[in-house]
C-alpha cells in the first residue's frame, strides 16, 4: 500500500512539474509581460520599469528564468502583482480561504447527499420515486453552473430579498461577536453554496445510482441478504460501502471541474476568491499573478487527488500494489 501511494504521489508530482513548466512557457509566449503594464500607465518612468524588470529577473535568459521560477515557486515567492501592487503571495493568501471554503463545503455536502440519494434511488429502481429522482438529476445536470447561480440571485436575492446580492460580508458592519460574524458569512454564502451543491448532487446522484445498481447485482449482496441482515444493513454496509470506491475516484477527478464551478460562481456572486483571481490575472496580463494562481490551483487539485488516493487505499483492501 505504501508503495502504491508513493507511486501515485510521484506521478502527481511529475504531473505538477509538467503543468508548471507549461504555464511558464505559455505565459511567456505571449507579449512582453510588462508591455501591457507600461501601456496602461504612461506615468511610470521607463527607468522604473527597467528596475522592475531587473528585480524580477526578466532581463535574464529564458532558461535562467525558468530555473529561478521553479525554485522560487517552491519557496512561496511568486513575484509581484502589477495590478494589485502587492506581492502575489499576499494577494493569493487573502483570497484562497474563500475558495477553499466554497469548494470543500460544497464537495462534502454534495458527496454525502449524492451517496444517499443515489443509493436510495438504486434500491428503489424503477419505482416512481426513482423515476422522479433520476429525471430531476438529469435536468439539474443540464443547467449551467453560473446560470443556476444567476437564477438563484434573481429569485432569492432580487425578488424575495432573502439573501444578499454580492460579497461575503455586509459592508461597513461591526460584528458584536463571532456568532454574528459567522451568521453574516453564512447568509452571504448560502446562494453560492446552494448553486455548487445542487449542481454537483445532480451529477453524482446518477453516477452513484449506476454504481450501486451494479453492486446490487453482485453475489455478495445475495449472501448479505441471505444472512438475514435487514434491508438497510444490506444497502448501506454492503452495497453503498462498496460503491463508495468508484465514487471516491470520481470525486478526485472532478475536483478540477469544481474549480471551474468556483470560478463561475465567484463571478456571479462577486466573491473575492482565487478562481476570480485567475480570470483577472489573465485578462489584465498580470503574469506573476497568473503563475501564482495557477500554482496554487494546481497544487490544490493535485493534493485533493492524493488525498483521494489515500482515502481509496484505506477503503479498498484490494489496493496492494
Amino acid at each position: 500500500m505504501k508503495a502504491y501511494l508513493v507511486k501515485r504521489a510521484l506521478s502527481l508530482f511529475i504531473t505538477f512539474l509538467v503543468v508548471m513548466s507549461a504555464i511558464f512557457f505559455l505565459a511567456r509566449s505571449g507579449a512582453d509581460p510588462f508591455a501591457e503594464f507600461i501601456e496602461s500607465d504612461p506615468r511610470i518612468p521607463p527607468e522604473a520599469v527597467e528596475r522592475l524588470r531587473h528585480r524580477f529577473g526578466l532581463d535574464k535568459p529564458l532558461w535562467q528564468q525558468y530555473l529561478d521560477f521553479m525554485v522560487s515557486m517552491f519557496q512561496g515567492e511568486f513575484g509581484y502583482s502589477v495590478t494589485f501592487r502587492r506581492p502575489v503571495f499576499d494577494v493569493i493568501m487573502v483570497r484562497l480561504p474563500w475558495t477553499l471554503m466554497l469548494l470543500t463545503t460544497s464537495i462534502v455536502i454534495s458527496t454525502i447527499g449524492a451517496v444517499f440519494l443515489g443509493a436510495y434511488a438504486a434500491w428503489n429502481r424503477g419505482k416512481k420515486i426513482d423515476l422522479i429522482g433520476t429525471n430531476i438529476s438529469l435536468f439539474v445536470r443540464a443547467l449551467p453552473h453560473f446560470w443556476l447561480g444567476m437564477v438563484f440571485l434573481l429569485v432569492f436575492g432580487y425578488y424575495y430579498r432573502l439573501f444578499p446580492l454580492y460579497g461575503v460580508k455586509t459592508s461597513g458592519i461591526e460584528y458584536a461577536n463571532v456568532f454574528e460574524q459567522v451568521k453574516d458569512l453564512l447568509w452571504h454564502l448560502t446562494l453560492p453554496l446552494a448553486t455548487l451543491i445542487i449542481r454537483q448532487i445532480g451529477m453524482y446522484t446518477l453516477y452513484m445510482r449506476g454504481e450501486t445498481l451494479e453492486v446490487l447485482g453482485e453475489d455478495f449482496i445475495t449472501t448479505a441478504k441471505a444472512k438475514g441482515l435487514s434491508d438497510r444493513t444490506v444497502l448501506f454496509r454492503h452495497a453503498v460501502r462498496t460503491s463508495l470506491l468508484p465514487m471516491v475516484t470520481v470525486t478526485a477527478l472532478r475536483f478540477g471541474f469544481m474549480v471551474n464551478g468556483a470560478i463561475l460562481t465567484e463571478t456571479v456572486f462577486s466573491l473575492p476568491g482565487t478562481g476570480r483571481l485567475i480570470y483577472q490575472a489573465i485578462t489584465s496580463g498580470d503574469f506573476f499573478l497568473l503563475q501564482g494562481a495557477f500554482f496554487i490551483t494546481s497544487i490544490t487539485v493535485l493534493i485533493a487527488n492524493l488525498v483521494a488516493d489515500i482515502l481509496y487505499s484505506h477503503l479498498d483492501p484490494r489496493v496492494r500494489y
Binding site: S11, I14, T15, V18, V19, I23, L26, A27, S29, G30, R125, G126, L138, F139, R141, A142, L143, P144, H145, F146, W147, L148, M150, V151, L154, Y158, L165, G210, L213, G217, L253, F255, G256, F257, M258, V259, N260, I263, L264, T267, V268, I278, Y279, I282, T283, G285, L290, A293, F294, T297, S298, V301, L302, N305
Partner: protein
C-alpha cells in the same frame, strides 16, 4: 458482393437500433428538443424578427410589444439574439465534438496499440488534461492566441476535451488487441497502421459515436462558461455571451434599477434544454450500443 452484404448488415443494424430508440420515450423527447433547436439555428434568418447585431430601438426596453423579450444595453432585440445564438452555441458544440472525437480516438488507439513509452507519455498528458481545471486552461489558451475568435474558442475547447475519450478508446483498444482477428491480421503481416485503421477503429466506432454526443454536451457547457466570463467572439454571440452582457452590462439593473429576467432567464434556459435533449439522446444511444445498460432502468 462483400460490400453489399456489409451494407445490408449495416442497414439491419440501423433498423433494429431505430426500433430500440423509438421505444425509449425519453430518447425521442430528447431528439425532438435537439431537432427543434437545430432548425432554429438553421432557419434563424427567417425566424428572427430583427438583426441581432443592429441597434433598433432604445436600450433595455422591457419585454412585450414588438420586442418579445425586450432589448439589451445596445438596443438590440433579445429575442433575435436568442434565435441566432442557437447557431453559435450548436455549431461550436458539434464542431468541438468532432475535433475531440478525432484527437481522442487517434491518441487512444495509438496509445493502446503501440503501448510502451508512447502509451505512457500520451496517457500522462491525458491525465493532466483530466485532472486540471479546464476553465483556467482555456482562458490561458484563449489569452495567448488573442481571444476574440471563433476558431480560438474551438481550439481551446478541444484541447481540454480529449482526455476522457482517449482513455476510454485506449481501454477498448487494449482489449481488442488481444482478440483473435487482430492477432490473425498481425500474423499475416499487416502493418500497425493498417491494423489500427482497418481492424481496431471500426470496432471502437459504436462507443465513440455514443460518446460524441456527450462531448458535444461538454463543449456547449464549457463554451457557455467561457463566453460568460467574457472570452467569446463578440461578432458571433452565443447564449453564454448574452449572459455575459446581461451580467456585466445591465441585466441586473435594467433601465430603472430592476433586474431584467427577460435577459437573464431565456439564454440559460436554452442551454439547459439543448443539453438536456442531447443527454436524453445520448442515453438512448448508449443503451443501444451497450445492452448491459438497459438493465439499469
Amino acid at each position: 458482393m462483400a460490400l453489399k452484404r456489409r451494407l445490408t448488415d449495416w442497414r439491419n443494424r440501423l433498423v433494429s437500433s431505430a426500433f430500440i430508440f423509438r421505444h425509449n420515450r425519453a430518447g425521442v423527447i430528447g431528439l425532438v428538443i435537439v431537432l427543434f433547436f437545430i432548425s432554429m439555428a438553421i432557419f434563424a434568418p427567417f425566424i428572427a424578427p430583427f438583426n441581432p447585431y443592429e441597434r433598433i430601438d432604445r436600450s433595455l426596453l422591457p419585454p412585450g410589444g414588438v420586442y418579445l423579450l425586450g432589448t439589451n444595453d445596445m438596443g438590440q432585440d433579445i429575442f433575435s439574439e436568442l434565435i441566432w445564438g442557437a447557431r453559435v452555441s450548436l455549431s461550436i458544440g458539434f464542431t468541438v465534438a468532432l475535433v475531440v472525437m478525432f484527437i481522442g480516438t487517434t491518441v487512444g488507439v495509438v496509445a493502446g496499440y503501440t503501448g510502451g513509452l508512447v502509451d505512457e507519455v500520451l496517457m500522462r498528458f491525458a491525465d493532466i488534461i483530466l485532472v486540471l481545471p479546464s476553465i483556467p486552461l482555456m482562458i490561458l489558451i484563449a489569452a495567448i492566441m488573442g481571444r476574440h475568435n471563433f476558431y480560438v474558442m474551438i481550439l481551446a475547447l478541444s484541447v481540454v476535451g480529449w482526455g476522457g475519450l482517449a482513455r476510454m478508446v485506449r481501454a477498448v483498444t487494449l482489449s481488442l488487441k488481444e482478440r483473435t482477428f487482430v492477432e490473425a491480421a498481425r500474423a499475416l503481416g499487416a502493418s500497425g497502421g493498417h491494423i489500427m485503421a482497418k481492424h481496431i477503429l471500426p470496432n471502437t466506432a459504436p462507443l465513440i459515436l455514443s460518446s460524441v454526443i456527450y462531448q458535444a454536451v461538454g463543449a456547449m457547457m464549457a463554451e457557455a462558461g467561457l463566453a460568460f466570463l467574457g472570452l467569446g467572439d463578440p461578432t458571433a454571440k452565443s447564449w453564454g455571451m448574452m449572459l455575459h452582457y446581461a451580467q456585466t452590462a445591465g441585466g441586473w439593473w435594467g433601465a430603472n434599477g430592476n433586474p431584467m429576467w427577460n435577459w437573464i432567464i431565456p439564454p440559460g434556459l436554452c442551454i439547459a434544454l439543448v443539453v438536456l435533449g442531447l443527454m436524453l439522446v445520448g442515453q438512448a444511444v448508449e443503451e443501444i450500443v451497450n445492452p448491459r445498460l438497459r438493465r439499469r432502468r
